[in-house]
Subunit: 130 residues, 2 copies
DNA sequence: TATAGTGTTTATAAACAGTATACAGTGAGT
DNA sequence: ACTCACTGTATACTGTTTATAAACACTATA
C-alpha cells in the first residue's frame, strides 16, 4: 500500500475504529487493490496517519491475519498473502441477503433516494461479475 | 405486529442484540410491514419471545423513537408513527455506497459466489423502485 | 553488535451491553 | 373511586469491548 489515503476513519461513527480499519482494508484486498505479496504500512505508520493508537491498527491486522488475508510475524512488516476464497458456509448467502436488506432499509430511512439506491445496487451488481 | 416471528436474534453474533432488534424492526418499518398506527408488542412480550431482557428491547424502541419511527410514552404500548423520509444529509449517499461496497467485499471474502451476490443486488435494485 | 525498525504483551481506563429490581404511568373492570 | 394487570422508566450493577499506554521482544541492516 503506497499510502493510507484510501482509508478514512470516522471517530464519531458507531462502528468501532478497529472494525472500520478491518472493513476498509478487506475491501481493498477483495477488490485487488492490495495484491498478494504487497507490504502493508507498519502499525505505527498507519496509526499516525489515521490518528489512532498503533495497538488499534495491530488489532485490525491480527483480525485480517486470522481471516487468512495477511501474514504477520514479529519483527517484520505485514504482508498480503495469496488467498483463495474459502468455501462459503451454508447460510453465508442468507446472512448477506439479510444484511443487505437492512442496509438498504437504513439508507431509505435516512432519506437516500430510492433511485439512487437502486442505481448503486445495479452498478455494483455489474461490477461484482466483471 | 401480530407476533415476533419475523425477528430473529443471534446471541453469538458480533453485532449487539439491541442493534439487531433496531435494524430488523427498522427494515420492517421501511418495507411497510409495520404500517403507521400499528401497535408493537410490549417490551416484555417481545423480550421473552426473543430470549433477552426487556430493558434491551426498551432500549431498541427508544432508538427507533429517536429516529422518528415510533411513539412511546409511559404506560402505553409503542405505536408506529406516520413518517416521511427526512431530507438526506449531503453525504448519506456516500456512506451508503461505501458500506455497500464493504458488505459485498465481506461476502466475497467469505466465499459467497459472485453470481449469487450479483443476483441479490440486482433483484433488490428492482424491489427498491417498486 | 548497535540501532532503528517491526509487531506483541500486559495493564488501565472508559464506554458499552445486558441484566435485575424497584418504580411510575395507563386503562379496563369493578 | 378503586384496583389490578398491564404498560414503559430509572437506577444500579456486572461483564465485555474498545482504545490507549508503556514495556517488551524479534528482525534487518549498517
Amino acid at each position: 500500500m503506497n499510502d493510507a489515503a484510501q482509508i478514512r476513519i470516522d471517530l464519531d461513527a458507531s462502528t468501532p475504529v478497529n472494525r472500520q480499519i478491518v472493513d476498509q482494508i478487506r475491501t481493498l484486498l477483495v477488490e485487488g487493490a492490495l495484491p498478494a505479496g504487497a507490504d502493508l504500512p507498519s502499525v505505527r505508520r498507519l496509526a499516525t496517519d489515521l490518528g489512532v493508537h498503533f495497538a488499534t491498527v495491530a488489532d485490525a491486522y491480527r483480525t485480517l491475519a486470522e481471516e487468512g488475508w495477511l501474514e504477520i510475524s514479529h519483527g517484520r512488516s505485514a504482508r498480503v498473502l495469496p488467498r483463495r476464497a474459502p468455501v462459503a458456509g451454508p447460510d453465508a448467502g442468507d446472512v448477506f441477503r439479510r444484511r443487505l436488506r437492512q442496509l438498504v432499509a437504513e439508507a431509505r430511512s435516512q432519506g437516500v433516494a430510492a433511485k439512487e439506491i437502486a442505481g448503486e445496487l445495479a452498478s455494483l451488481a455489474k461490477g461484482v461479475i466483471a
